[in-house]
Structure formats: C-alpha cells, structure tokens
C-alpha cells in the first residue's frame, strides 16, 4: 500500500464537474487539495456518460461539449496543481487525534483536514456480462474499463455495447487493434448520432441485434460465440480480447456506512454544506437541502460555499468571504512580484 503521508487541507471525493471546481476553488483560497475518483479519467458523468453531448446551462457558455467542459474545469483547477488520484475507491473514514481525517481507499491511505464529498450519484460500477464464462475471464482478456489504450495494440478485439462509452472506445482503438468487432443487442444506438455515423463508416465490423453467448478458451480468450437474435444465428469470432461497455449502475457505496445523515442516496447538508460528520462537507448532486436542485450550475455554487467555509474552519484567520477574484488575483500577482524583487 503506497501512502501519501502529507496532510492536505482538503480531499475532494469525486472528480466530476463539481469536484474539479471545488479543487480549483481550494487553490484560489490558498488551500492545497487532493481529488480522488474511482473512474480512470476525470470529468465524472460528463466524460463517462455523455461526452459528446452539448451542455447549455453553464453560465458563460452558450453551448459547450461535455468533454470540453470537463477539460476546461481541469485546466482551471490545474492552476493550483491539485493532486489527482484516479481509479481509487474510497472506503472508510477515521478521525485522528490531531483533528486530521484519514481516508482509506482500495489502494492507499489519504490524510487531510477536511473532506468534501462531490460523489454525484456515487460510484459508477460497470454492468457485468451474464454468461457464466464471463467471470472466468474477467481481467484476463475480458475488461469493463480501459486503463491504458496501449494495452489493446495488436489485439483481436470485440467491443460490446451501443452507448457513448462503447462507441468512443471502439473508434479510438480501431486503428491500434489487429481486428475489431462491435456487437450491440439492438439496432438502435444510445451513442451520439455523429459517433454512430463514424462507426458505420469505419473498418469496425458491426453486428446489431447481437449478444454474446459464450467466451471460448481456457487460460486466455480464444474466441467468442455471438448470436444474432433477429435470425437466431450463431457465429464464432476470432478474438482474444473483449471490452464490455454496457452501462453503469451508480451506488453511493461504502460512504453509506460512514454514519452520514442520508436522504435516500443523497447526503443532508446545512447551508454551509456541512454534513453531520465533523469536517465532512458535501456538494453537488450528492448533497441535499431544502429546495435543492441537482444541476451543474447549483453544484458549482455548492462547491464554492463548501470550500469557503472549510477554508475559514481550517484557518480562522481566513475570512469566509473570499473577496472578488478580480481583486484577489491582482493582489496575489503583486505579492509575487514583491517577493521576487
């Protein structure tokens, strides 16, 4: 277990839009910050569920692609170099004697003074395949997530799914793989129309109305039997790797066991975004309070509120009200110059 011994001011759990903005805001308030997310990339639902869709209700952007919004938020946060830990699932919370908080994940331990939960709908766990043979090959030829695209180079690949995740990966990997197939149980694709068009014009062999029946092989995958449900016809594909992207199921997961006051799978907060647990704040879709609307724009507001109160709570000399960013940044620049000369 590799453990980062540094105690950060704030740990943000969830690298979706609200988490990324909280990380920016922590930096703006001169706090150091770490973000943890269970997915292999930042952006949360923006990049996982609807990367190619436009978002129209973010202030200042008449229209912005979800992926671009995530990239912009990342860029904004990067000004202050938050530590980003991906593919880590947060498990437990411990209060240490010096008022610090220890979080454990499936990979490491993390220390911070405050925690902000921006977990959205929770951990997005990939939906698994049904055939019995699927279990045997999980992580041994059958994958539910892409960690490193290079891994798929030269592979004979079968992609399963008809949503944005499946199509995006198929299109991304099509020239790296030695051969590539895509099967989808329907002939209607959930993915963006532009991706479907690209798919149909690509070198990817697409089978619609088709499901996976069985995976062949002993230690490693030697083929896959697929069945076209419209004509009930089986076919064996010569593949050695399967990437399955048939959706996710959200679940708040181990956080539910922390003793937080919950309303369904959301966490109750007061107007300062504090939960009933000391030092733990919540913001965005995971937080609830009277009149709460689950929107990106209100999530940003939650994040700013949470960080400002956390800042004052960690360093009482810091005012809750941050000042106006235009002035604050000017002052910071001047201070930097004065420091240099």
């Amino acid at each position: 277990m590799n453990t980062d011994q540094k105690t950060y001011d704030i740990t943000v759990i969830g690298a979706g839009p609200v988490g990324l903005f909280a990380a920016y805001y922590a930096g703006f308030r001169d706090l150091n910050c770490k973000i943890i997310d269970c997915l292999p990339q930042i952006g949360g639902q923006l990049t996982t569920l609807y990367p190619q869709k436009f978002v129209y209700d973010v202030a200042g952007f008449p229209k912005i692609l979800a992926t671009d919004l995530a990239l912009n938020l990342h860029k904004q946060a990067q000004q202050y170099n938050p530590k980003i830990c991906l593919e880590e699932k947060v498990q437990q919370i411990f209060y240490l004697e010096d008022r610090a908080i220890k979080l454990t994940t499936d990979k490491a331990e993390h220390f911070s003074k405050k925690v902000i939960l921006t977990a959205g709908a929770g951990v997005f766990t990939p939906r698994k395949l049904e055939p019995e043979s699927a279990k045997k090959f999980e992580n041994r030829g059958l994958y539910y997530m892409v960690k490193d695209t290079e891994f798929f180079r030269g592979k004979k690949l079968l992609v399963i799914g008809g949503g944005d995740t499946a199509l995006d990966w198929a299109l991304h990997l099509k020239d790296m793989a030695k051969g590539i197939y895509l099967i989808h149980r329907s002939n209607k694709f959930l993915a963006a129309a532009s991706s479907v068009r690209q798919l149909m014009n690509s070198n990817i062999e697409v089978h619609t109305h088709t499901e996976l029946k069985e995976i062949l092989g002993n230690d490693h995958i030697q083929g896959a039997i697929i069945v076209d449900k419209s004509v009930n016809q089986e076919k064996t594909l010569d593949v050695d790797t399967i990437l399955c992207c048939i959706g996710y199921t959200p679940n708040l997961g181990p956080i539910k066991e922390w003793g937080l006051e919950l309303a369904g799978s959301t966490i109750k907060v007061n107007p300062r975004m504090e939960t009933n647990l000391s030092g733990v704040y919540a913001a965005g879709d995971v937080a609830t309070y009277e009149g709460k609307l689950r929107l990106i724009c209100t999530g940003f507001s939650d994040a700013a509120v949470a960080v400002n109160y956390a800042a004052h709570s960690i360093y009482p000399e810091l005012r809750v009200f941050p000042g106006y960013s235009t002035n604050v940044m000017e002052q910071k620049e001047e201070e930097k110059l004065a420091h240099k000369t």
């Binding site: 609807y50 709908a121 997005f124 944005d164 209607k188 959930l190 199921t249 959200p250 369904g264």
Partner: protein, 143 residues
C-alpha cells in the same frame, strides 16, 4: 404470431403493445420498437428523462433502488407508480404511460417537427453559403 410466453408491454398514450424479452428494460423495449422515450444519460440511472408511469403491472417490474428514487424525484409529473424506463426490468405484462410532457411530441408530430427542422436547417445553410443571392434552383455556384 404472438408468443404467449413473452411479456407484453403497452405504451400509452400511443397505445402500442409490443413483446419484450424477460429481463429487458422498458427503455430497451421502447427503443427496439421505435417508441420515443428520452434517455439523456444513456440509460445509466443518472437523469430522469426516461420517466414513465406504470398503469398496470407494477409488481412485474424489478425493484426500485434508492438511486432510482433519487433521480425520479426530479421527474415532471411524478406519480406513486413512477419508474425510470432504464432501471425497470420487465418480468410480465405491463401497461405504462409516457407522461404528457414528453409524449406531446410523439408519433407523427415528431416526424413533422423533424422534417420542419431539416427544412429550416437547409434554408439556413443556403442563405449562409449564399448570403447575397436568393435561394434558387440553378446548379451553378456563385463564388
């Protein structure tokens, strides 16, 4: 031929009855049969756009999770038998209604509106690429 064993799903107000495979989600059944049911998040229980109201056969659907309930609370016209189409798996005959605010755009209306949009886009593109001249049928392009 109607298969006696396959669950049947009736969608209102279009009043279309279709067969489903056991364990299929309502959203998948709707999509397979060209019945328009929105699904902004791609059927991952992260929005409420596939909201339906079950009129009969509530017990023949998979159980509702807390996550589904949280998303549902944002649905317009929430009813005691509201479900998310993407999360409800079918295990028997059921009747569901796609709420009015979505079904107002169903059927011929959709086709009409889509045709209208296409027409408008075409006209817009024409006037953009050819701002000075009137839209005309001539083939020759003006630089």
């Amino acid at each position: 031929m109607v298969d006696e064993l396959m669950p049947k799903v009736t969608f209102l107000p279009v009043n279309k009855t279709v067969e489903a495979e056991e364990g299929q989600s309502l959203l998948d059944v709707a999509m397979d049969n060209d019945i328009r049911l929105e699904h902004n998040c791609g059927g991952n229980c992260a929005c409420s756009t596939c909201h339906v109201i079950v009129k009969d056969g509530m017990e023949k659907l998979s159980r509702k999770t807390e996550e589904e309930q949280d998303e549902l609370e944002e649905a317009e016209g929430l009813a005691p038998t509201s479900r998310l189409g993407c999360q409800s798996k079918i295990y028997g005959d059921i009747i569901v209604e796609i709420p009015p605010y979505r079904s107002s755009l169903l059927n011929e209306d959709v086709t009409k509106i889509e045709a209208l949009i296409k027409e408008k886009e075409k006209a817009l593109n024409l006037s953009r690429s050819n701002p000075a001249s009137q839209p005309s049928q001539t083939e020759g392009k003006t630089e």
